[in-house]
């Protein structure tokens, strides 16, 4: 499972994607993904907000994650 990273998320992890399944089972839901992200990189706990997109749509915590989904971490947006 590959997770796309943008903006400050990319800076925190130091890469433009992250594999939460390194040697472990993959997160089953958005909520589990967020927990694992914060555990691996505590800096995410300090952000104003943290969202996850599944197949390029905002996804609630309860949404399930599949192997073929396009998953992305969405740190606080600041366009305009």
């Amino acid at each position: 499972m590959e997770v796309l990273l943008f903006g400050i998320a990319k800076d925190i992890v130091g890469r433009s994607s992250w594999y939460p399944n390194e040697g472990d089972e993959t997160p089953a839901t958005v909520s589990e993904l967020k927990e694992r992200l914060k555990k691996s990189f505590p800096e995410f706990g300090k952000l104003t907000s943290l969202a996850v997109a599944v197949n390029s749509e905002y996804a609630e915590d309860s949404v399930s994650l599949g192997q073929n989904d396009e998953i992305a971490i969405i740190p606080p947006v600041s366009g305009g």
């Binding site: 943008f6 997109a53 390029s56 740190p75 947006v77 366009g79 305009g80």
Partner: protein, 140 residues
């Protein structure tokens, strides 16, 4: 894609073409908002802004916002266009606009477009100062 909605993420914004994009025989009012790079942020001199996006998702969100606005204000045309990359002081970074029969609709819609873009569209802005770079809004 609705032919009355123009959604784009571009390298540079052409400020001259927005009138013809929004013009419509049933539109008496056209309202346009441009966001530009300011020289100072809280009295610190800004050298440039750098924009990054999650393009697929950004285009999808921009299209949803445009459709919501068309529905709500009976708009004839909508433009939402955002720039990415490095932008210097006075350069445009975003343009949103709407056209409608009367001016109430296009003013309200234009304000909605920029406010909602700023809340929902996955675009990130980094302020580049002389001695530091800051991702805007990332921290409380």
């Amino acid at each position: 894609m609705d032919k009355n909605i123009i959604i784009e993420i571009v390298g540079d914004i052409d400020v001259a073409k927005v009138y013809s994009e929004l013009s419509h025989p049933r539109s008496g009012g056209i309202c346009v908002f441009f966001g530009a790079v300011r020289e100072f942020t809280q009295s610190e001199e800004v050298i440039a802004l750098e924009f990054e996006t999650y393009k697929n998702m950004a285009l999808k969100e921009m299209d949803k916002i445009a459709k919501e606005a068309v529905e709500k204000w009976d708009l004839n045309k909508v433009v939402i266009r955002h720039a990415v990359g490095k932008k210097k002081v006075e350069e445009p970074v975003v343009v949103v606009g709407a056209s409608s029969a009367h001016r109430d609709g296009c003013f309200e819609a234009c304000r909605f477009l920029i406010d909602t873009l700023k809340k929902r569209v996955p675009i990130w802005k980094k302020e580049i100062f002389k001695n530091k770079k800051v991702w805007v809004s990332a921290h409380p």
